[in-house]
């Protein structure tokens, strides 16, 4: 598979979406097999692209403007004055994203066959998933910011449709609305940023913009503003502070959707965007610092909220927000490799954790961890795969998360405040992960009805868990050349991830030991507080009830935004609506009409019907006009 055909990757699921959207009721099994088989084909093609790309790369024939870039003119106004090409572009970042998106999407689709069985709108579900996958694949292969924006909005729409999949439920409808509007605010910034870049560079082509920026084509201040606007889009899509509020609510969607869209793929689009544009961020370091500190604040804040969340999916959602923060920190430190590596490993273990939580919800119809417990006896496969994912998330050697988190810490080595915050956050991560595992799967069952009801999920659901658990365990090893070579990649998969800084990865024994100590320490604290009946944790709440309330109420951000909408936005709406009614309509228009009516009422008395009155008026008129004519001529 050559680079020219990379456009097939989004085209296949897009075609399947059209078929399912129109004809799924007519198809056997409403067409779920079509979506799964199509996705399997995409995985094969994505692997082919990766191998092909390796060949290029290995032989030093890699040419960013050559065979891997393709364009088709979509719009051309006045001979290139304003031109948009549908172009694809493939580089190492693209290949990593293609692998992540296609593999996770395939696992999620297989899993969904079991999880969504018997749902109304079953066919529509697979159609929407295919639509999402198509848009996401388009997003990562886009060579042009306008195409990227196109796909960016399309994944947002897919997210809206799937969060609102159970739209009869008021909370799901509200969550879908919240997600769409919040990310839309970020997208305003993204579009402004893209147009600002175009305004100076005269093109939407990403590589040309990068060249233009590196050549010093932009004014520094101008470029800073443009990149900050662009970053707003990433903040919205990747649920970073202060636009993070939509992601926990987005858990109203079906759980496999949370795994695919709200953990592994769509929410990392922001990371992808910044990584893709990082050469431009490197030109304006102020903007890069904003990326760094946004990520840092988010990583820490979300981890603290994850400590107290009581819904299994919400804990994972906060964890996702926090891990995305880690990736932005890496980008802000100027290390796209660490960010992409963490993106790569995180996709597998977080998708695994979500699908595991789905397996629990499927079995118990319960998502409150206070109502679970002891499930390891009933759901051994789910439990042990979940434990693997959790250890990977907590950063325990030799699982995937350890390696990538280590890379980020390594990148932060020279910046003490950042390093300390990251280390603390890593510790918190280990604590909330341990809490989640213990409360859900161990201890005594707290809700016997739910427990009695529980059973292991069918093989079609546990198979993806096993595959993802294997990936979560070993994905970190790709940094070793030998592993990749054994798989047939000339330079190892690590070479894809480390394409930009091939010499960066060094295993630093001291740092790794420290990171491992932090993780194990966190796990230890978790075990102490939540083992068994979790008495200590309950008591610990009493130490600082205000702090607990602050965290449970999510730092009051949701309340703040709600009152902003209620009082400021809707308030402005009321003011203008009243202005329109009273001033424009009643005073301006009706008032004008009434004035005419008033004069008519008064002046009608001049219409006496008596000839002498009219004759007098006529005579007066003639005299006046004559005088005017006389004096003016």
């Amino acid at each position: 598979m050559g680079m020219e055909q990379v456009v097939l990757l989004p085209a296949i699921p897009a075609a399947i979406f059209v078929v399912l959207a129109l004809f799924s009721p007519l198809l056997p099994r409403r067409g779920d097999w079509l979506a799964v088989v199509g996705m399997a084909v995409v995985v094969v093609l994505a692997l082919a692209v990766a191998f092909h790309f390796q060949d290029f790369f290995g032989h030093g024939e890699f040419d960013p403007s050559g065979e891997n870039a393709r364009a088709f003119e979509w719009l051309n106004l006045s001979n290139g004055l304003f031109q948009i090409d549908l172009s694809t572009y493939v580089d190492a970042i693209t290949v990593v994203m293609l692998l992540v998106v296609s593999i996770v999407a395939l696992m999620v689709m297989i899993y969904s066959v079991g999880y969504m069985r018997g749902e109304a709108r079953y066919g529509w579900y697979f159609g929407a998933l295919s639509f999402f996958t198509a848009s996401m694949l388009l997003l990562v292969t886009a060579g042009n910011l306008m195409v990227l924006y196109f796909a960016w909005e399309a994944v947002g729409l897919a997210s809206f449709l799937l969060i609102g999949f159970y739209w009869e439920r008021r909370s799901a409808a509200e969550a879908a609305k919240k997600a769409f509007i919040t990310t839309r605010i970020g997208d305003v910034g993204l579009l402004i940023g893209i147009i600002l870049l175009w305004r100076e560079a005269g093109t939407f082509d990403i590589q040309q913009i990068i060249e233009f920026a590196e050549g010093g084509g932009f004014d520094q201040r101008y470029l800073t503003v443009a990149m900050l606007f662009l970053f707003m889009g990433a903040v919205g899509k990747s649920a970073q502070f202060p636009l993070h509020v939509w992601l926990p609510d987005a858990m109203e969607g079906p759980t496999p959707v949370s795994a695919l869209i709200h953990a592994a793929t769509m929410v990392v689009a922001g990371v992808y965007l910044v990584a893709r544009m990082l050469p431009v961020f490197d030109v304006v370091l102020v903007a890069r610092d904003v990326v760094l500190y946004t990520g840092l604040i988010t990583a820490f804040m979300a981890a603290t909220m994850g400590l107290v969340a009581s819904d299994i999916k919400r804990v994972l959602a906060y964890s996702t927000v926090s891990q995305l923060g880690f990736m932005f920190v890496a980008l802000g430190l100027g290390s796209p490799t660490a960010a992409m590596f963490h993106l790569f490993t995180h996709a597998f273990f977080k998708a695994l954790l979500f699908l595991g939580s789905g397996s629990v919800i499927h079995a118990t119809h319960q998502q409150e961890i206070e109502q679970l417990g002891g499930l390891w006896r009933k759901q051994p496969l789910t439990t042990w795969t979940f434990v693997i994912g959790s250890l990977a998330l907590a950063g325990v050697i030799p699982l995937a998360g350890f390696w990538s988190k280590d890379e980020i810490l390594h990148a932060a080595n020279h910046n003490l405040p950042v390093f300390v915050t990251l280390a603390v956050t890593a510790g918190l991560t280990a604590i909330y992960t341990t809490r989640l595992v213990l409360l859900t799967f161990f201890g005594e069952p707290r809700n016997h009805h739910a427990y009695e009801h529980a059973h292991e999920s069918p093989p079609i659901m546990t198979l993806p868990l096993l595959v993802l658990a294997a990936l979560a365990a070993v994905a970190g090893f790709v940094i070793y050349e030998g592993v990749g070579q054994a798989l047939g990649f000339a330079g190892g998969i690590g070479q894809l991830i480390f394409a930009h800084e091939p010499e960066v990865f060094h295993f630093d024994r001291d740092l790794a030991t420290f990171a491992l100590a932090v993780s194990l320490g966190g796990i230890g604290i978790g075990l102490v507080y939540w083992w068994g009946t979790a008495e200590r944790a309950t008591r610990a709440r009493g130490w600082a009830p205000e702090l607990h309330a602050l965290l449970v109420n999510r730092y009051y951000f949701d309340d703040l935004y709600q009152s902003l909408i209620n009082y400021v936005v809707l308030g402005a709406g009321s003011v203008i609506a009243v202005f329109d009614k009273r001033v424009v309509n009643e005073t301006g228009v009706d008032g004008g009409a009434q004035t005419v009516g008033w004069f008519g009422l008064r002046l009608k008395f001049l219409q006496t019907g008596r000839i002498p009155n009219y004759a007098l008026a006529m005579a007066g008129g003639i005299v006046t006009l004559s005088l005017v004519a006389f004096y003016t001529s």
Binding site: W74, L75, N76, L77, S78, L81, F82, Y149, F150, E153, A154, L157, G164, W167, E168, R169, R170, A172, A173, E174, A176, K177, F180, I181, R184, I185, D187, V188, L191, I192, I195, L196, W198, R199, V569, L570, A572, G573, S574, I576, A577, D580, V584, N585, G588, V589, D590, A593
Partner: protein, 496 residues
Amino acid sequence: MSSNDGYLMLATFLVPLGAAVLLMLTPSRERSAIIAITALASFAMFVIAVYLFVSYDFNGPQFQGVKAWTWMENAGVLGERGIQLKVGMDGIAAPMVLLTGIVIMPGTWVSWKLHHRTKDFFILLFLLVAGVFGTFVMLDLFFFFLLYETAVLPMYLLIAVWGSTRKEYGAMKLMMMLVAASILIFTAIFAIFTEAGLGTFDLPTLFAAEFDPRMQKIFFPMIAIGCGTLGGMFPFHAWSPDGHAAAPTAVSMLHAGVLMKLGAFGIIRLGFQILPEGAEFWAPALVLVGITAALYGAISALRQVDLKLMTGFSSVSHMGYVFLGLGTLNVIGMTGAVLQMFAHGIMTALFFLLIGGMYDQAHNRDIPNFSGMAKQMPVWAIFFILAGLASLGLPGLSGFVAELHIFVGVFRSYPVVGGLAVLTAAITATYLLRMFAAAFFGDFNPRWSHLREITWAERAGATVLAGSILTLGLWPAPWVDRISTTLAQTIPGVAL
């Protein structure tokens, strides 16, 4: 496009006129005959409109298919060179003709369910459409204005007789404001005619004529306000939400979908093409008015309860983008303005079609009264959401293509205004999403369990409009090529 296509342009307004005459001769109890006549006539209009749009060759001369018939050899005071019925299209008229053809066909279909004086309704509706088509293809100022007024006048009766919700008030307000606006246009037309001193109403001649810059600066605002009132330009928009709310479905569709574009079209034809220096002078004011209207309409729409009023204010907001784009004076922004005229036309026609399809059964349009409607009327809800997504500027749908051009055009000249314009799109998303969540999703309110899915005629009409939304959104090149080429050729002073 050959000059014989001029006959087809003539047909665009002779077909509805002929159909109106035919309807007058048909007894009103012959319902099937009425339906047959209207079906044929509207289909013919649709086909002719599509053909004219497709066959306009943007590499050719600016005005194509030009045909003239002398009406008066010498009109004395009104021009020694006489008055001609002269038709022809440029790349701005072409999408407008297409728009009219696309909207009238579904508009006719959904009106068949009217049972009150159906025949009279169609006579007036076709008279209106004849005026709209005529204005778009007319290259003689005399007939241009005549047909412009022909398009506006039937509106009064259509709303006052077949309307709802304060229909007499809405009809009267609309009529009074539009007639007052016409006085301004009329004055400006006479000034143009006299000042040119060429003794002709021929538009291409007037486009080429030189006018005193001071005269242009005085009369451009008259055109802009006069035509702008019909285009729903803030602060002369007051007739629009009330008029839309009062009008019957097909009339709302044509009115918001096509008639408001007639106003913007008038500004381009009479303002930009005849008085370019006046336009250049006043362009910043258009930008100011445009962005104010965009924000004002969107923020007002946040608080509207009646679906039709919400759509009405949404129209004020979207038409604000048109004036904003025109005010940029660069070819990207102005192309965006014409694209927006088209995009808003099909999208808002779809909105009104759907609202009508529901209101006819529920006799209620207040958003808080509805909940979970997607359960009872899924097809209706899907079309509605599609129209809403087009309205909020989702890529792949018509609205985005237009808005993108406008944003880019505005950013070239006024970056801060550009930022506000993009922000407006987020406000649009807010009021539409709030409406979706409240009315379509959530528990179904059993009060509405008697409602049926929209009729097949409505579904067919919605499919035509939705198809147009997708076509423009996914493949905008045919529109952009026609519009931008003409704008670059025709309007002196337009920056590239």
